[in-house]
């Protein structure tokens, strides 16, 4: 891809770690906390998002344990409500939204487009601090009694009736939102202005296209929820009357403003995952992604059409029938680009050369779960059917298939794919494949029964439930324990590999892309000289020789 000659290396045991790289550019606390290097900021995000993930997962574990029996015998109702609220707020604002963009996007976007850094390195560091400030608000809310509104903060419950720490949690989500805006803004500018010579738009890896689309949503949707949360908090603290039905206010208006962000936010969560899958599939099939431009434009299509469908969260909210129809129709339209992506990924495998290394196993897992998550969206988009399914466990299962089955699976795949690039060493392959298998099996066992119990009518956010739903909940909790083990494994073998793993060399997968042409881990300034791009993306028609 690049004209820069690089020493050809491969996964020989005799490979040596490069003498100088971004990780050993400084060991002091200050060299990390005040770093302007996008790669180090990515590592800061990796650590903090992982910590939030553990917290969110512990709350999920408590929820599943409580639901093992129909009675509310483990947790009080209010404790349960606080747990699912914390689970939702943490997982959405502090894990899923920053997961791939802030960690892997930060690390890879400059490397992939041939830049020394993102456009605004200080802003990048600032957005991590803003993110952590949001986390501090949320943790304070949790420690001083928790919050019980659900992550949706619906008024008037949040603005008048709840007597928990809504203000602090709202501040937390508001602040984390600004971190997301700043990151998106940085990526937009970086992708527009920092591309290396020869790196035209249609030579960009699909990962970049996906992140560009994601960043647009982050910049254009997030401010709306920021203002909405401000209005909710003004109503709660200063008793302004914005949504208050007592004054003739409209609680459904809050839902409109909330979902104007929160539906596109679903695409903030899944688009980067789709970008990752394109990269992994291309590498392990040794093929350019089938229909590159269709996959690229489908990302933009999803991002833009995704702004017109938020009303499908309001089908039974007393929203106008006509608006509901329009939102339902457009909801089906936005399903098409996702379908196009899936078909193109599948077609990429036709007559390819497929190998089953762990990132590819995660990608297979993604495809398996994403298809189910995607098609179940069709049930909910059909407005007449949604009346029955709305706010039941069917919805819970659907969005977990997309966000956890899709995004987290892709995130793990990405982490395994680029781990050797980030730390210069490989993890034990067997453990990685075991983790992928456990996550896949555990996930399906956890969430598939929820489709069934959802259609039977079990509402979400119930801490007790009729006895006839128990079978499904027992299965679900059993699955969650397997899923938990699957998620736990990488927490051991990945850190272990940083010290003890096999040295990977610059390009262990023999992949294409600028990031694989520099040493692993890369230099602080990424490239010794600005690369000049002369090839299309995924040019697998010739391979580097394997050096043994």
């Amino acid at each position: 891809m690049s004209a820069v000659p690089i020493p050809r290396q491969s996964e020989t045991p005799g490979l040596e770690m490069p003498r100088q790289h971004y990780l050993n550019a400084g060991y002091s606390i200050k060299s990390w906390l005040l770093t302007l290097d996008h790669k180090r900021i990515a590592i800061l995000y990796l650590i903090s998002v992982s910590a939030f993930f553990v917290m969110g997962a512990l709350f999920a574990g408590m929820i599943r344990l409580e639901l093992l029996t129909p009675q509310g015998d483990l947790l009080e109702a209010e404790t349960y409500n606080k747990m699912f609220t914390m689970h939702g707020v943490i997982m959405i604002f502090f894990v899923l939204i920053p997961s791939i963009p802030a960690i892997l996007g930060n690390f890879l976007i400059p490397l992939m487009i041939g830049a020394r850094d993102v456009a605004f390195p200080r802003l990048n560091l600032l957005s991590w601090y803003v993110f952590m400030t949001g986390g501090v608000f949320l943790m304070t809310a949790a420690i001083f009694g928790g919050v019980d509104t659900g992550w949706t903060f619906y008024t008037p419950y949040s603005s008048v009736y709840s007597n928990t720490n809504v203000m602090l949690a709202g501040m937390g989500a508001f602040t984390a939102g600004f971190s997301s805006i700043l990151t998106g803004l940085n990526f937009i500018v970086t992708i527009h202005t920092m591309r290396a010579p020869g790196m035209t738009w249609f030579r960009l890896p699909l990962f970049i296209w996906a992140h560009y689309a994601t960043s647009l949503i982050q910049v254009l949707a997030t401010p709306v929820i920021a203002m909405t949360l401000v209005l909710m908090m003004l109503e709660r603290s200063l008793h302004l009357g914005i949504f208050d039905p007592n004054l003739g206010g409209d609680p459904v208006l809050f839902q409109h403003l909330f979902w104007f962000y929160s539906h596109p936010a679903v695409y903030i969560m899944i688009l980067p995952g789709m970008g990752v899958i394109s990269e992994i599939i291309a590498c392990f099939t040794r093929r350019r992604i089938f229909g590159y431009s269709f996959v690229a434009f489908s990302s933009l299509g999803i991002a833009i059409i995704g702004f017109f469908v938020w009303g499908h969260h309001l089908f039974v909210s007393s929203q106008s029938v006509y608006a509901g129809m329009a939102f339902s129709l457009i909801t089906f339209l936005v399903a098409v680009p996702s379908a196009i992506k899936t078909f193109n990924w599948t077609a990429t495998m036709y007559k390819a050369s497929i190998s089953y290394e762990s990132p590819m196993v995660f990608a297979f897992g993604f495809l398996g779960l994403f298809v189910i998550g995607g098609v179940t969206g069709l049930f909910l988009g059909a407005i007449g059917l949604d009346v029955h399914m709305h706010d039941t466990y069917f919805v819970v299962a659907h969005f977990h298939y997309i966000m956890v089955g899709g995004e987290i699976m892709a995130f793990l795949g990405a982490l395994h794919f680029w781990w050797p690039k980030m730390f210069g060493r490989k993890y034990p392959e067997g453990w990685a494949i075991l983790a992928a298998a456990l996550v896949f099996i555990g996930f399906n066992l956890t969430f598939f029964p929820q489709f069934l119990v959802g259609y039977l009518g079990m509402p979400r956010r119930y801490h007790t439930y009729p006895a006839e739903f128990q079978l499904f909940n027992v299965l679900s909790t059993a699955g969650a324990s397997i899923l938990g083990v699957g998620y736990l494994l990488p927490f051991f073998y990945l850190p272990w590999s940083i010290r003890f793993g096999q040295v990977a060399g610059p390009n262990p997968w023999r992949a294409k892309g600028l990031e694989w042409q520099v040493q692993s881990p890369p230099l602080t300034e990424n490239f010794e000289q600005t690369p000049i791009v002369t090839e299309e993306a995924y040019e697998y028609s010739h391979l580097e020789a394997k050096v043994v």
Binding site: Y22, L234, I242
Partner: protein
């Protein structure tokens, strides 16, 4: 730590170009695009409350008109002129920086700051008036006029305070950024070769002006004819 490595390989030596950029043109392009993306974000930030206003105005037009009659059109109009004038001085400040006219730059920045404070001062008078007439929502709100449902008028005033308050907050932040810029201008830090901070701040200031250009008719003017 990273700086030393970076500079080792970066060819340019222009101190006004950050290490991650190849040249000044790239930096200017990036900064301008970044600012416009930020402003697009700001449009939607204010957009949420404008949407709410529009919806309630369509629900309760009479009460919104009745509520707007209590706003002082003279003060509002005066403030509009002040803010437009401050936009002009800001544009002239950018123009002065582009032509390396230090004294003019400092003068116009100070003028912009002064007009900003005039605007905020008038706003304080207006808020004080609302306080005296018990028109603060959630704080003993009283509405004794024959027109308008007191509850719906209270919604109008909630929007009045949310919108103008958020706007005033942007003005205050702007003033806070303006102070160090004025200091830097006095020190002669800006010239035709480097004036991006002035230009970017100008974009922000004009945006705040535009918000007011919409707030003025929405809050003060619509429904005046029904008086």
């Amino acid at each position: 730590m990273s700086e030393s490595h970076a500079h080792a390989v970066v060819a340019h030596h222009d101190p006004t170009v950050a290490h991650q950029f190849d040249d000044k043109a790239q930096q200017t392009e990036a900064v301008t695009l970044g600012m416009w993306a930020f402003l697009a974000q700001e449009v939607l930030f204010f957009g949420a409350v404008f949407t709410g206003y529009t919806v309630y105005r369509s629900y309760y037009p009479d009460s919104f008109i009745a509520g707007s009659h209590h706003l002082d059109i003279k003060l509002g109009g005066f403030n509009t002129a002040v803010l437009i004038a401050s936009s002009l001085t800001m544009a002239l400040a950018v123009h002065a920086a582009q032509n390396t006219k230090r004294i003019r730059l400092v003068f116009f920045l100070l003028a912009t700051l002064f007009l900003g404070f005039v605007f905020l001062g008038v706003k304080v008078i207006e808020y004080g008036d609302k306080f005296h007439h018990h028109l603060i929502p959630g704080l003993g709100f009283l509405w004794a006029e024959p027109h308008g449902d007191p509850k719906h008028v209270q919604i109008f005033y909630s929007f009045y305070f949310a919108m103008t308050g958020m706007h005033a907050l942007h003005m205050i932040i702007g003033a806070a950024i303006l102070l160090p810029l004025i200091w830097m201008a006095i020190r002669g830090r800006f010239s035709a070769a480097y004036y991006a901070p002035i230009e970017m701040f100008g974009l922000y200031w004009h945006f705040v002006d535009i918000v007011w250009i919409f707030l003025f008719p929405l809050l003060y003017l619509l429904g005046l004819h029904a008086q």
